[in-house]
Amino acid sequence: MKFDIAFMFVALEAALRYTPITLMLATVPLIVGIVFGTLVAVARLFKIRILGSIFKIFVVIIKGIPLVLQIIIINFAVIGPVDFLAEKFNWSFASKDIDRLYIVLIAISIFSIVNISETMRGALMSIHKGQYEAAYSVGLTRLQALRRIILPQAFPVAAPVLCNNFIGLIKGSSLAFIISVTDLMNGALITATSNYKYLEAYVASAIVYWAICIMIEKASVVLEKRLNLCSKEVAV
């Protein structure tokens, strides 16, 4: 058996066809993660009563569970009750009618919220305390201080780490295969089911993942330069 380059291109084409699914599985959680992750980070930073400690426990627990296990558990957590209720009330709708894509999206979003909340917490904590004090001293409320003074400074600090988080999400989305969602990797593998040329299929998907991640890294460098430029101009 030899490495079949011609077949690798067949798999590569299939991988590219399903690339939008992978991008979707990473981009939606990224946006959800930035929005809710920032909220979680702020709640923890300001030690908001009850909510702050609930989020802290939530982050520790979710961070401890591997993503693949999170996907499996959320899958069961959705399927079990739906089938249970369907059986009880004689619904025509059952868990097999749910698109697994949404289950993966939920699981990766939760994973993303936790990771990005840690990123944002680090970025928020890197802002000097004097900035808060100065904002309060001119009469800004907590929310105003956050929105106008703190967050605009925190986002440039967080940007490179957020890009790393995005790469992590792209790679993490490959685990969608565990509940048989057809993403980039699974798309490439489907082509190999008839001839068992799995090595070629895996190499093809590796190439696509690699290319996506290099592009994100390059974009991250450009973004960082722009952001640095902006903050310098403000400083002048």
Binding site: K63, V68, P81, S174, L175
Partner: protein, 233 residues
Amino acid sequence: MGKLFDFKLIFEYLPSILSRIHITLLIVVLATIIGLVLGIFIALARIYKVPIINYLAIMYISFIRGTPIIVQLFIVYYGLPEILIGIGININRWDKLNFVLVTYTLNTAAFMAEVLRGAITSVSTGQSEAAYSIGMTRWQAFYRIIAPQAVGIALPSIGINIVSLLQDSSLAFTLGVIDVMGQAQAIGSRTLHKFEGYVAAAIIFIILSIALEKIFSIVEKKVITDKLVGDSR
């Protein structure tokens, strides 16, 4: 499957899943140790810009960082026997655990190399110049002056990497290795109570992650206080 979720079953399954914890820990410990050693060599090759090896190292690190571990796992699983048979070594009868160990070691080596490189380059160049000026060789300067300072800087990131290695090790079951995850899967298909088995596995992973983080924060504190005491002497 009468009941939706049975809490008692989690505790019933925990001991049997715990009995496979040594496989998970073996993957983590071996990959960390060999990965660190390989990582030091890769980092040094990059810092001293060893010709050719430097470029290979850049490519290697970029590939490992840019592809999911699950893809790496299967490329090693299907690819390594093909490569080794080319040079006359037959590993078709290898235990699957070996492929897992190879993949995780290669993966960890790349991440550790980046951490170590960052730590070593963050030690000010004045330190190595000072070492050279009093007549130390390159190796002496590295071993006696740079490395001890770099270790303190690298420690937090090494800790983070080991925790994510623990989480990644959960994918070994996709090759059929019976570690914590594999056992949870086996229980699931044997008893049809899949959910409870996986929840038990999740509990084990949470406890392991928290324990690892605690250990690292203790080690970090110890290293930092040792350094402070050492400096004041």
